[in-house]
């Protein structure tokens, strides 16, 4: 295990003294000590359809530059070569240390089962619900996964947002907290609010969660200024995971690059690099080794540049894996090629893999979730077995 016994004990004693005055003890020493596993899992939803072909560019595919006269780069123009075939968009250069340390991998040409319609909203629904068809599931796959994780009651999940995202919504308990929230309530005031909400079950539940999460965030930030930026979000997620949370999810928005993609994409990629590097820093080297990050998007974008220096809604895209204990430094997935007749509907990157299989493999790897649960309750209709290529990471 990554944690040394000393470290756990010293943190425990610190928390015992820091928390004893609180109305709701957040870091219950029992649940902390009884934690069955140290592994962490983070999902990042890249909302707006991240252009995987711009992030991880197939410069070795001869058709690529023809489809994208202004967006395609070559190593000579600053593209960072990854493996002789793919290159990383230079806006993501901050991720290169992770790549070189084999803590970063990309999965190319993956998608959800969503086809033909290309609506962001339905696409994100599919991605987060893990369903086979639009509106197939009403809850999030990461929430349903909690039921299948052995002794998940000891492993807490948190969504860093102002409101719960679909991916973690559902019957199992998960907390949601915004990076800027800070409730500060005196003990007697807590009593009044509990009474005020006594006859409204939903308000009562949310209050209890707010008090619990606020205490945890309080420990992390203390008097530091808290913002709503991506750095604050990643820092909060990392801090919570370092303590007794085991699953976290948040979003990076801004990927819908219909026009003027070059500048907008670079800005948003910057957010993603900040998210990943901040998360790593906040987790610290030991916990980072036990962590798996999966960043994924609702669908990719058209292979051809459109008429306005951007790209439109497509299908196949890229998923990103990161973590201190992985065998990264590779671009995974089966490359479908881009030439004439190779595109889906003559416009999109042909998906050769299901992003749900990547997610399933990570749940199996991190939490021993069995294939029965993975293919029924969590990702209905998915074919997954233990020989999944994504497990070799």
């Amino acid at each position: 295990m990554a944690f040394s016994q000393d470290m756990i004990l010293s943190r425990r004693s610190f928390l015992m003294t820091a928390c004893c005055a609180a109305a709701v003890p957040v870091f219950s020493p029992v649940s902390f000590a009884a934690m069955p596993g140290e592994n962490r899992f983070v999902t990042i939803v890249l909302r707006g359809a991240m252009d995987g072909l711009d992030l991880v560019q197939p410069y070795g595919d001869p058709a690529f530059a023809q489809f994208r006269p202004t967006l395609a780069l070559k190593p000579d123009d600053g593209l960072i070569d990854l493996d002789g075939h793919f290159g990383l968009n230079p806006a993501a250069d901050a991720l290169m240390p992770m790549w070189q340390a084999k803590e970063l991998a990309f999965v190319h040409a993956v998608s959800t089962p969503y086809r033909d319609q290309r609506s962001h909203f339905d696409g994100q629904d599919m991605l987060e619900s893990g369903s086979q068809a639009v509106h197939g599931e009403r809850t999030g796959w990461l929430n349903r996964a909690l039921s299948a994780i052995p002794r998940s009651e000891d492993r807490k999940a948190i969504d860093i947002n102002t409101s719960m995202e679909l991916i973690l919504s559902g019957p199992n308990e998960a907390d949601v907290w915004a990076s800027s929230s800070n409730m500060t309530m005196a003990a007697d005031e807590v009593g009044f609010f509990k009474r005020l909400y006594a006859n409204d079950a939903e308000f009562s539940r949310v209050l209890a969660e707010a008090l619990r999460t606020d205490m945890a965030a309080e420990q992390l930030f203390q008097d530091e200024k808290r913002g709503q930026g991506i750095r604050d979000i990643a820092k909060l997620a990392g801090g919570m995971l370092r303590e007794d949370y085991r699953i976290a999810s948040f979003s990076v928005d801004g990927w819908d690059t219909h026009a003027g993609q070059k500048a907008q994409f670079a800005r948003t990629v910057k957010d993603l690099t900040i998210a990943l590097t901040t998360l790593k820093d906040a987790l610290g080297p030991d916990v980072w080794k036990t962590t798996m990050v999966l960043a994924m998007t609702e669908f990719g974008r058209t292979v051809r540049e459109n008429g306005t220096g951007g790209t439109d809604h497509g299908t196949g895209g890229v998923a990103i894996l990161a973590g201190g204990g992985i065998q990264g430094g590779r671009v995974l997935g089966k490359w479908p090629e881009l030439g004439e007749g190779k595109l889906l509907d003559d416009r999109d990157l042909m998906p050769t893999g299901d992003v749900r299989e990547v997610a399933a493999a990570m749940l199996y790897r991190q939490f021993d979730v069995g294939s029965e649960a993975l293919t029924n309750g969590i990702f209905p209709g998915l074919s997954f077995d233990r020989s999944s290529a994504y497990l070799k990471i």
Partner: protein, 523 residues
């Protein structure tokens, strides 16, 4: 005749009860608002629509001049930043005025519908600097005048407004076979074509295909904006020839703006559109799980009246279910804040005294001697103040209103009032950013989330309690907690809420609890 409740009318179909409010007596009182409200001038954009048009035009000219110049990089950057500051300042002031508009207006139903339709036809002021000025104009030009008439007119006004054409990249979209695409590398952008069908009219999954989306985008080509940010049809950019959308042929040679108008009319008339929109209205006003018979009654009226919106609303209000089971919805942050200010009796007459005691004149929406002088000084000096909220207004902590203020002062500070983070901004635009509903900045073309689950969350609760505490401490000096409950909730205040509020150790606690009660947050 359906049952009627003045309290439900104010809370479910308006922005809540205020002291001395004249109550609606029946559904006709609600509908009459739709006739009366447009006759009153709106508080935004500051200085009126004509002034805002002028601001937009000035920006257009400024940015255009910079495109041509490119001589002196240093100077150009300074000039560009000045234009951007001007746009941002205009937006900051209009944003505050937008919240105050909803707070002061006696026509709550009309205001709620304006917010509903702006959200339905979402645009985001942060798309670009010109959008900071054009977005408020969009609401007064495209949305508000058309929300009680024919849906067809509303659709046309919203979809073809420069704000929408810019927001969904239509302004640049060019037919691949058009004259404009021949000599330059230009082409189609599907964004507006898609959202027009998926969000604005028929709704996702209602039977159209990717081919229809692309064809709709082709029909829309040519619809663009000119150098003054006004809508313009440029035949050179339009895809020539006949284009089929959902089995109907549009266009021909030559193409004309009428092709788009006819397509919009056809989309407006489709049954899927009536169903999608009636369902959305019921979801917005009554329940996340819209009662099907209310939707059916509205769709019938839609068909009978050819999409006359006031009649469709009347069909909703005529249904008994429109007056039952209050509390099924959560107020969105904007509605929470506005109804809170109303509960404290904030009005057009007293707001400055109560919410802006430090004289935050640089952001006051209404003409005052100092504000006018400041404007004059701005015009003559050509100088500019930095926006009050640099970058992220949400950084500002509720309890430290002036903590994060930075301002670049103009060359002659004596001429200008010093910008401060007033209580007015803390309790409105800054609070709304923290709560996740910043003014005129929806997260996507689909607008803000609507469901209870999205707004009944721990951090949302935390932000609302902070807001309630701040409002109670600053606006609540002459208000008894029980009185606030009585004023704002009337018979909807529950006995246990009245009891807990009555036991509070002090006035501020009591008011905070009242504003945090489930029934004040629900509707």
């Amino acid at each position: 005749m359906a049952p009627f409740s003045p309290t439900i009318a104010a809370i479910r179909y308006g922005y809540g009860l205020a002291p001395d409010q004249i109550l609606s007596r029946n559904r006709d009182d609600l509908l009459v608002q739709l006739v009366d409200a447009p006759l009153k001038e709106s508080f935004f954009p500051i200085g009126g629509a004509f002034d805002a048009r002028q601001r937009a035009d000035d920006l257009a000219k400024g940015f255009e001049a910079l495109k041509i110049a490119k001589k002196d990089a240093e100077n150009d950057r300074a000039a560009r930043q000045q234009l951007q500051r001007k746009a941002e300042q205009s937006f900051q002031r209009d944003s505050l005025a937008r919240v105050l508009q909803a707070t002061f207006s006696p026509y709550g139903f009309h205001e709620r519908l304006a917010a509903f339709w702006f959200d339905h036809f979402s645009v985001n002021a942060h798309k670009s600097f010109p959008m900071r000025v054009i977005t408020p104009l969009y609401e007064v030009e495209a949305i508000r005048p058309h929300l009680a008439g024919s849906f067809r007119d509303l659709l046309q006004a919203a979809v073809l407004h420069p704000a929408m054409l810019i927001y969904l990249d239509q302004a640049q979209s060019t037919g691949p076979q058009s004259a404009a695409a021949q000599n330059r590398k230009k082409g189609l952008n599907e964004n507006l074509g898609r959202e027009l069908i998926e969000l604005h009219t028929m709704g996702a999954g209602s039977g159209y295909t990717q081919a229809d989306v692309r064809s709709a985008a082709l029909v829309l080509t040519g619809m663009t904006v000119d150098d003054h940010y006004e809508m313009l049809f440029r035949p050179r950019m339009a895809e020539p020839g006949e284009i089929k959308v959902l089995g109907v042929k549009y266009g021909g040679n030559p193409r004309s703006a009428d092709d788009c108008l006819v397509m919009l009319d056809d989309l407006a008339s489709r049954t899927e559109t009536a169903q999608h929109i009636c369902r959305k209205l019921v979801t917005h006003f009554i329940s996340d799980d819209p009662p099907p018979d209310v939707v059916t009654a509205m769709v019938q009226e839609w068909k009978a009246s050819d999409g006359h919106l006031a009649k469709v609303y009347a069909a909703m209000l005529d249904h008994p279910r429109a007056w039952q089971e209050p509390g099924a919805k959560m107020k969105l942050p904007f509605d929470y804040v506005v109804s809170g200010l109303r509960a404290f009796g904030i009005t057009r007459k007293n707001w400055r005294e109560r919410m802006s005691p430090d004289g935050d004149d640089s952001y006051t929406p209404f003409d005052t001697p100092t504000a006018a002088a400041a404007q004059q000084a701005l015009k003559s000096s050509g100088e500019e103040m930095a926006p009050a909220m640099p970058g992220d207004a949400g950084q500002m902590a509720m309890d430290k209103p002036a903590a994060s203020m930075k301002a670049v002062m103009p060359s002659d500070p004596a001429q200008l009032p010093k910008p401060k983070a007033s209580l007015a901004r803390t309790l409105t635009v800054a609070a709304l950013r923290r709560m996740g509903q910043p003014v005129w900045q929806p997260p996507s073309p689909a607008g803000f989330e609507e469901g209870v689950a999205s707004w009944l969350s721990p951090s949302q609760m935390s932000e609302r309690i902070l807001w309630a505490r701040k409002a109670a401490g600053t606006l609540g000096k002459d208000m008894e907690p029980k009185k606030l409950l009585e004023v704002s909730l009337a018979e909807q205040a529950r006995d246990d809420t009245i009891r807990v509020v009555g036991q509070a150790p002090n006035r501020v606690s009591g008011l905070t609890l009242a504003l945090s009660s489930p029934e004040f947050n629900r509707r």
